[in-house]
Symmetry: C2
Subunit: 248 residues, 2 copies
């Protein structure tokens, strides 16, 4: 198991201070399992999946790689659980950003769209994993078995939430509650089936925007004028996405 | 070098017939270098970068891995050159699809957008590499040094081409020539600076759509009704992207 003898503590990397853990996890002394999870989340965000090595995580925490298998079954099991956690946090951040906005449908939808881009860029190496799960895992089957349902639920909850925001804009209301699958199927989809098309258009357009910003731009370092043009295009896109939704 | 003695031929995988090469490269007997390049393109498309091994390519062609380094410097050098080739073919396919459409600005723009989605999905594992070069290479610096300029030129040529199609729609014309950087800066950008915003919106929206279709859907195998909904959303998105461009 690689666990050190009882009563001793593993020798961890000096960067892993209580402040580090508090900032990353909200807890200065997370459990061993949470340490593996959150340190991996942090490293994949920074390095991307290709350069992420479980030997690095284990070494930083003072354990052997066997401990990853003990807690998560495999490298893919660890990554799948990280991805699930990252996506859940991401969708909660989008809801928080929306609820922090001015209480009118347009301001809420704009806040949601802007938060998608900001959060998406903060995800760093995770955007690639979340967007291309099939190509990111050695074995997509392991990833699906471990986290497929939770991940899909989180994804769908998010899609229902944007659709609700679109419908709110169209009808000039502010919904208090978040739609569940039944409300979604029976009320939202029946009331206006095109709302989900606008929602998915917002989803794909912002996903693509994040990709262009964080995926491409970071490599082909651009002159300042191109960066400014890209930022202007992004700002324009947010307005255009909202403006192109017909309201009643 | 791993080269077999003069006069003998390496033992290649039986799947690599003349028909295989003709279909993949247009040439039944490509050079050794082209074989490495195109077989790698084919394998990354099918497997994604994470599961692509240069040992597999070398073994299938009957050489040692040293031959990859001989021709391309490194695994990243090989992948960078593949990515450049893939992107160039992709942008030519988009132009071909546009020029095969009915000669009116709307039909041309629709054909272009649809081709982006179709070609994007056909790229398979390459979409991830093209969208996230920073996270896909062990060393982005090697990739940029080898292919950064060609890749960026191809990317920008493509962006100029969509922008021209947007402007054609807005002005009701069909441009015969493809814009170069000078025409782009002096005529297109001056005539209508928002055309490039519509172009980049089309770019990010379709890039995101391809990602949702090929990246997410393939893993979380969806019930038929969801697949149909996604296809309808995609069809709607093409029309919506074109309809939301103001024409004069």
């Amino acid at each position: 198991m690689g666990r050190p003898p009882k009563g001793t503590r593993p020798v961890t990397d000096p960067s892993l201070t209580e402040d580090f853990w508090r900032e990353l996890t909200g807890n200065a002394e997370p459990s061993q399992r949470e340490q593996f999870l959150w340190l991996s989340i942090d490293l994949v965000r920074e390095l991307g999946l290709n350069q992420f090595k479980i030997t690095t995580v284990a070494k930083m925490l003072g354990y052997s790689v066997a401990m990853v298998n003990h807690h998560f079954g495999s490298r893919d099991g660890l990554i799948a659980e990280c991805a699930e956690r990252v996506h859940q946090n991401y969708s909660l951040q989008l809801i928080d950003a929306t609820e922090a906005a001015e209480r009118n449908p347009r301001a809420r939808l704009e806040a949601y769209i802007k938060a998608r881009v900001v959060c998406g860029r903060e995800l760093g190496g995770w955007t690639q994993v979340l967007n291309y799960p099939f190509h990111s895992f050695e074995s997509p089957a392991i990833a699906i078995a471990r986290s497929g349902d939770a991940f899909e639920n989180s994804f769908f909850r998010n899609l229902m939430f944007i659709t609700q925001l679109v419908l709110d804009l169209q009808t000039g209301t502010v919904s208090e509650s978040r739609p569940d699958r039944e409300v979604f199927a029976n009320e939202i989809m029946r009331q206006n089936p095109t709302a989900i098309f606008h929602a998915s258009n917002i989803g794909t357009a912002t996903a693509g925007a994040v990709m262009w910003m964080s995926g491409r731009m970071d490599v082909f370092t651009q002159p300042q004028e191109i960066v400014e043009l890209a930022n202007a295009a992004l700002e324009w896109q947010v307005q255009h996405l909202v403006n192109s939704i017909p309201v009643s």
